[in-house]
Symmetry: C2
Subunit: 349 residues, 2 copies
C-alpha cells in the first residue's frame, strides 16, 4: 500500500487541540512515514508545539488560520462567517487539490456543512453519509448514515449501501462484505416505503454486492452483517443507544461487584479481564466517523479524543485516500446505473 498522501488537518478542532493534534501527527508519522500534513491553525502556537515534536515537525507544514470553529457554533453561522477558520481552510486545501483529505476533531455539524458546501458530493451521490464502526460479537460492523440526513429516500439508502460496501472492502479488507438494511423486522413485507424500495433495488441488481436483506436492532450487537444501512435519524439513535446501554451495563457491573465482600474479592482477581472488556465494548474506541460521498476524504475524529485516537483517525483518512475510495464509488455507481439491457435503474425510483 502506498501512503505518500498529503492530508489537511484542522489543528484547532477538539477539546485538547492543538496539542493533541500535533502529538497525533507524531504517532501517525511513525506508522505512515511517507505521509505529509498541512497543519491549519494558530501559527504561533503551532510553531511552538512543533519545536517540541521533531518527529511531527519533519512531516508538517503550518498554514496560519486566524479563526477557529467552536463546539457551540451553529453550522449555518459557520457557513456565513467561518471562512477564515482552521476547519474551513483545511477543507479548502482539499478542494484546491493540495491535500487528498481532511481530518478534524471539531464541531461535527459545522464540518459536514462546510465539507458539503466546499467539496460537493461525488457525481451520482445525492447525499453524503456519516459512517462509523461498531464493536460486535463477531468483530466490527460499519453503519451509515449516523446523522447527516434525518430524512432519507430509497435512493439515498441504495447509495449508502454501495458506499458502505466499498468502504468495507478497501479499508477493512473484507472480501465479500454482506450488506443489510436496518428495519423493524426481517420479513420482506415490514417497514416503511423507503426501506422496502431500497430492499427490492438491492435484491434485484446485478452488482457484486452481497445483499443480506433486512436486519434488526439485535443484529447490531450480533454482527450479522458487515454493513448496516439506515437513515440518519435511526442510525444516530441506534449509535447513541449502543453507547448508553454499554454505559448502563458498566454501571450495573460496578454496582454488582461492590455489593458483597465475595463480589469485591472476585473483582480483584478479574480486574484486568474486566478492563479489557471495557475497552472492547466501548464504541468510542473506534475513533473517526467517515463522511462518505464527498469529493475529498473527510474524517471526523471524536471531539474528546486524545493523540492516539487522532492518529487512528489519520490512519483511516490515509487508507481511504490511498486506496482510491472515491474512484471505486464512481465505478460501482456506473455498474448500478446500467441494467443488463443498458437502462438506468436508479432513475426509476
Amino acid at each position: 500500500m502506498s501512503s505518500d498522501v498529503v492530508l489537511a488537518l484542522d489543528a484547532m478542532g477538539g477539546d485538547h487541540a492543538p496539542d493533541m493534534v500535533v502529538e497525533g501527527v507524531a504517532i501517525a508519522a511513525k506508522r505512515f512515514p511517507k505521509a505529509r500534513f498541512l497543519l491549519f491553525g494558530d501559527e504561533a502556537r503551532l510553531t511552538e508545539l512543533l519545536a517540541k515534536h521533531k518527529a511531527a515537525a519533519q512531516v508538517c507544514s503550518i498554514r496560519h488560520a486566524p479563526d477557529a470553529v467552536s463546539g457551540d457554533d451553529r453550522p449555518s453561522q459557520v457557513l456565513r462567517t467561518g471562512r477564515k477558520s482552521s476547519m474551513w481552510l483545511a477543507i479548502d486545501a482539499v478542494s484546491r487539490g493540495e491535500a487528498a483529505g481532511v481530518v478534524s476533531a471539531g464541531n461535527t455539524g459545522a464540518l459536514m456543512a462546510v465539507a458539503k458546501f466546499v467539496l460537493r458530493t461525488v457525481p451520482g451521490i445525492d447525499r453524503p453519509a456519516i459512517a462509523g464502526l461498531f464493536p460486535t460479537q463477531r468483530g466490527e460492523t460499519v453503519m451509515l448514515d449516523l446523522g447527516a440526513n434525518v430524512d432519507c429516500n430509497a435512493n439515498n439508502l441504495v447509495e449508502f449501501a454501495i458506499m458502505g460496501e466499498v468502504f468495507c472492502r478497501l479499508v477493512l479488507g473484507i472480501d465479500q462484505p454482506s450488506v443489510g438494511i436496518l428495519n423493524v423486522g426481517s420479513e420482506d413485507l415490514k417497514g416503511n416505503s423507503a426501506v422496502k424500495t431500497a430492499h427490492s433495488v438491492l435484491k434485484s441488481h446485478h452488482m457484486h454486492l452481497s445483499f443480506h436483506g433486512f436486519v434488526e436492532g439485535t443484529d447490531l450487537g450480533a454482527g450479522t452483517v458487515d454493513v448496516v444501512v439506515t437513515d440518519g435519524f435511526t442510525g444516530n439513535v441506534a449509535l447513541k443507544t449502543v453507547e448508553g446501554t454499554a454505559k448502563m451495563f458498566s454501571h450495573f457491573l460496578k454496582e454488582s461487584l461492590s455489593n458483597s465482600w465475595m463480589a469485591k474479592l472476585g473483582y480483584l482477581f478479574a480486574r484486568s479481564a474486566l478492563h479489557r472488556l471495557k475497552m472492547r465494548a466501548d464504541p468510542r474506541r473506534y475513533n473517526g466517523a467517515m463522511f462518505l460521498g464527498l469529493n475529498g476524504i473527510t474524517v471526523k475524529s471524536h471531539g474528546g479524543t486524545d493523540a492516539l485516537g487522532f492518529a487512528n483517525a489519520i490512519g483511516v483518512a490515509i487508507d481511504l485516500a490511498s486506496q482510491g475510495f472515491n474512484d471505486k464509488i464512481k465505478e460501482e455507481l456506473a455498474h448500478l446505473a446500467e441494467e443488463p439491457n443498458g437502462q438506468p435503474q436508479l432513475a426509476a425510483l
Copy 2:
C-alpha cells in the same frame, strides 16, 4: 386499589401455552384474589390443566375456542380467517364488555391487528401505540411506540406523550413523570419535522405534563426521563439495539472471565453478583408490552415467557383496568383540545 377485574386470557398464545397460562393464573390469583379470568382455548386441554391447579380453577371460566393463531400467521391472514381463534374470541369478550382487558403471549402483529379491528381506538386517539418498560441507571423508563406505527406524524407523537405520561402516573405511581421526545440531538433545531412540531406543541400546552424536551439514544440507558416518545420505527430499532448490546456485553463478559485462571477465580467469587447483574440489565425481565389507546386494555406478554412472566403481564393489565387508564386518557385529551381561549389546538397540526 380495587382489583375485582375480569380479564380475558388467550390461553393458546405463547411458546409454552396453555400450561404456562394456567400456571400464571395460579400465581396471579394469589396476588389479586378478587380478579376473575375468562380462559379462551381448547376446552379439553384447559379442563385437564385446571384439574391440576385448584387455585387457578377457582377464579377461571373456560371458553372454548376451536382455533389458535400461530407465531408465523400474517396479521392480514388472521384478520380474514381467525375469528374462531382463542386470541380473537378473547378480544371479543372485551369488546362485548364481559372483560375489562385481554392478555396474550401470542403473535404480536396479529394481536395488534385484531385488537385494532375489534376494539377500535379511544375517541381522540388516532393510532394505538405499543409501550414497554426499559431498565435504566435510575430505575425504569417507559418508551412508546415500539413498533405499531412505522410512520408517525406530530399529532401521533403528542398522543403518545399523553398516553405514556398517564401510564407512568397510574401504573408506575410516579407523581410528575417527565416526558422526552427521542431525537438526534437535544437542541430545539434538530430533527425531522414530526419531532420538531410535537416538541413545540408539548412545550406550549398548558397541561400538567412535565415536558423535558428532546432526548437522545444515550438518555435511554441513563434514565434521563420517565417517558420516551418516538415513532414505531425508531422505537423498535432502539428496543432491539438495547437487547442486542446487552447480549454482546454479556458475551464479552463471559469471554473475559474465562481468559485466564485469575479471571476464572474472580468469576467464582463474583458469580452471584454477576447473576444479579444479568437479571437487572435484561430488558426481557419487564414482561408485557402494553397496547395503549384502544377501547379495552390489551397487554402482550413475551412469546417465550414462563408462568411468572405471564402473571406479571396479568398484573399490568389489572393495574391499567382498575385505575381507569382509558378514562384518564380521555380527560387529558379534553384538556389538550382546549387552548386557554377555548380553541382546539391539535386540529391545527
